[in-house]
Amino acid sequence: MAIDIPTRTDQLPTSATRFIGKAVNRIEDPALVSGTVEFIDNLSLPGMLHCAILRSPHPHARITGIDVSAALELPGVEAVLTGEDVERWCDPCFTAPEGWGNYCLAVGKVRFVGEPVVAVAATSRYIAEDALELIQVEYELLAPVANPDEAMAPGAPLVFESRGTNVIQSRTYTWGEVDRVFAEADRIVTRQFRWNRVGANPTETFGCICQWDLADNSLTCRGAYQTPRFMGIGRAASLRLPANKVKIISHAQGGGFGGKGGPRGTDIAALLSRKSDGRPVKYIEDRMEYLLAGGGQSWDRYYDASLALKADGTVTGFKVRLVDDQGAGAEGYGTISAAKPLAAFTGNYRIEAAFYDLTLVATNRAPTYPYRGYGPPPHNLVLESLMDVAARELTLDPAELRRRNYIRPEQFPYTVPSGNEYDSGNYAAVLDRVLELADYKGLREAQTKARAEGRLVGIGVVSTVEPGVFDWNAYATVGVPGVGVPEGVKVAVDVFGSVTVAVGFNLQGQGQFTIAAQVVADYLGVDMNTVKVTTASTDVALPHFGQGGSRLGVAVTGAILGACEKLRQTFCRVVAHVMQTEPEQIELLDGRLQMKGAPSHGMSIAEVAGLMLSRSDLLPLGVEPCPEATFVWVSPNRNQPDDQGRCRSYLTAAAATHVVQVEIDRDTGQVKILGYYIVDDCGTRLNPANVEGQLQGGVAQGVGAALYEEYVYDPQCQPLVSTFVDYLMPTIHEVPMTVKDHIVTPSPIAPLGAKGCGEGAIHTTPAALLCAINDALAPLGLECRETPASPRRLWQLLHDKA
């Protein structure tokens, strides 16, 4: 039976929505703020051991000997795991492209500082860390490759000898008549950019408790898992277990942002459990481990890019060469983030041709992982910076240049040269609103005045598209198979009419439990406080993915609508049978199943569920006594990519324009954000407070990437950042509270018209800040083309000029 998923809120079986579209209180927050949520580090199991990991101090070295005898003699130490065990019991993690994965502990050699070498399970974390000091590892140092230039030089040392090269992938994409548009261009602007390594830093690092059942030869892993099912499949593969022998229990997480995905901690704790007679083993990654070599390093990029324009400012072509330092292999799926820009390569603009020359390189830096936005934030910084350079050269206002090139509202659905189809948008309306909100004219007047006083004041006006609801097909070109990312739920009504929604994911902060409750409550016409959202472990959960790629709010909405529609159909059959009429004569409206045209004849949801569960004699033939339904939602109408990576990948295209005003202190290089304005359009706002929270959080991370954060390595590839003293996460003092408004252009194809918006402002903020900084520097003829635009860097620019 075909299930139609409503794309508009007026298609819901309710006279007026009571919860969707309103900033209702989040149902997950009371437990979070009162500390009753069970984060993994708060859980202890009987007989549990604690894991500590000895990590490599060298970026590249052969392991010539390991002596763990003294550690094993320390009272309280129950098991020690080395590369020898690992090589016997498991395989390297799988990667995309294949064959660039490491074992969970170094086997034979180490490839980056912080790589796990030996792991200990002991009765306390203190003893486990004491034991690490008793372990002797002998290394034979190898020359490291510290950056892509070194890695690609002839005769360079190899990070993975068996590969015969350090180049993970190198290919070009050509979309449209690139050579022609550049040949016919009236103006070409070209710049190089360096985006230094930054990444996710959730409040809670990764943690897990793994228990190997030696009788059943099965594994149960509890922990801070962002994508439990994916993690389960990966563990089955690397630990050589049938997939149904690995159970993942996802606990609530103190944030994720992409940094929770690493498999090593789970594999190590699992094997330590196996080696200590099946006792549960807890591993809590500490912040130094996380910063050194956890899942928090991303986007280490060298760009060379050009924009082709006509004299009137029409942008006709965009070329990008990207060399991306992936670090020591592809275990963290950093490769994917270089492919994601294909989903919105040319941003908000009508650009007829584009070219992408992409080289992914392995070095002896830590492996890279996903980070919120998963690739486009640096790409957007390049495109938007070039737009500003072009505007300056053409003496056009940067806002005006953008407006002239926007995809127009009537052109949607719009297929970008790189293949994805944008569902809808109204970019000019977003721009108009934000310019009004910011009093853009007033800002420019203030800037003119400040410049006359010798002050360096700049304004950034930056537009971006946020691809929402990711699909595997976007990443086919880097070796990820498949089309369609499932998200499954079960909606169950009990005998008293309360509703339980079982999902496959757990809390991470974005508020999807609340979204789920809002949707189910409006569909079934019940109060939100009768809805319970719960997480199913992977052994019983439906196919699902969870958070990632700005998808879950939309995906879980689709899944719930599907399950509710199935329930509605069943309820109509039951009620029709009882009322001796046809199901077509029964409708669901505001929580009642009633006769069309005679609404006083009907039953409440609770009455129908109660009847189904307690009066099987009244059920029609073929209806089970089960007021429950499952539905696995997948983005509609996705397809396989062609040889240039072109496909309908991300379902929705949200958009935003930011206006930011900054001032640079000439003498110290410090940047002060004077004003920050955002207008976004993510279609239907299922919960406006959630959207605002996601935007503000994205601004914080964008401020960090643009001005503060950087994983610094020295020329020998030693990391120089291992604590928050040096990895400069911005605090509430550094992040402006932004002035926000929005436009609503509902998606015509997504559930309830909502577009993915979870990544939010991180797509836009780094570009907006750098553009504002360069606008401030423009009168001096200077440009900063490296992130973060730290005081040291800006002062050096200003100082060298002076």
Binding site: M288, V721, V725, P791
Partner: protein, 291 residues
């Protein structure tokens, strides 16, 4: 990030604490005093500090006073920075120390961190040692032979090293009240609010009859200890308090620095430049307060 094993002691009087330290020293035991723990605890967790024993002062009474005594302000070593920040006495009578306190970390850190701890820890990028040099503060150390008073100029020896002997406990810091009409300022450059300074300047300035008569200036965050900037002080003596002389003092100060520190956030050259800029700005700020 768990500390290496250590003995834990929590004496309940200063006499007991001193006796305990002497015993531990006799036993060859490396003891460390724990006050607010805002620097020591992370260092223990990272196993950067690995003392054999910790002597926790939190149960020792009588170390948290903030009072006017004999014409100066005395602050007990265990008084929290937050208490100093909230003290009317400190705010009104020694505004430079008050302003410096507000620059230390964030409020949560100032709630736990002790005033004495920052002096004993002697981080060269922290504000207090520089203020101590400017104000000629005195440190009171209590040891087996009783109390001794150490002038600030002798207290800070080098990087995180003070003149305190192993058996001594810093029990009080003393500072003069700021004479009426004295200008003062503290300015620093940090990467984020509450961070340790990349460079900072603390100073007092006396102006009489339109001339600078006395400037006391210290820089922090640039060398192994806070440093007095004597050449700049000298250059200001007798100078008119204006932008020109302040800029000249800044340039002289920058040029006078021997070998500024360098780190990933600030090169030596950048630090040198910051000292000049900060001094120029701090002098202007102080001059506006002087009368």
């Amino acid at each position: 990030m768990k500390p290496a094993p250590f003995e834990y002691h929590a004496p309940t009087s200063i006499a007991d604490a001193v006796t305990l330290l002497a015993r531990l020293e006799d036993e060859g035991c490396d003891a460390k005093i724990l006050a607010g723990g805002q620097s020591l605890m992370p260092m223990l967790a990272m196993r950067v500090a690995r003392p054999d024993a910790l002597v926790d002062l939190r149960r020792v009474p009588g170390l948290d006073h903030i009072r006017l005594q004999d014409g100066h302000i005395a602050i007990g070593a265990m008084a929290s920075k937050r208490a100093a920040e909230l003290s009317e006495l400190v705010r009104e009578r020694q505004p430079l120390f008050h302003a410096a306190t507000r620059l230390v970390g964030h409020q949560q850190i100032r709630n736990r961190g002790s005033v004495g701890g920052s002096f004993a820890h002697a981080d060269p990028a922290s504000e207090y040692p520089a203020v101590a040099l400017v104000l000629d503060m005195e440190m009171v150390a209590t040891g087996p032979d009783g109390e001794r008073v150490i002038p600030a100029a002798e207290f800070f020896v080098t990087y995180m090293t003070t003149a305190l002997e192993p058996g001594e406990i810093l029990t009080e810091v003393r500072m003069p009240v700021l004479p009426a009409g004295t200008g003062w300022a503290i300015q620093e450059i940090t990467r984020r609010s509450g961070d340790l300074a990349l460079a900072g300047i603390a100073l007092t300035l006396r102006i009489e009859a339109g001339r600078c008569t006395d400037a006391r200036i210290a820089a922090f965050g640039i060398d192994a200890t806070a440093v007095r900037l004597g050449e700049a002080e000298e250059a200001l003596r007798g100078a008119a308090p204006n932008g020109e002389s302040f800029a000249r003092a800044g340039a002289i100060a920058a040029a006078s620095l021997a070998d500024p520190m360098s780190c990933i956030h600030a090169s030596a050259e950048y630090r040198r430049h910051l000292v000049g800029t900060l001094l120029e700005r701090a002098l202007a700020e102080a001059a506006a307060r002087a009368h």
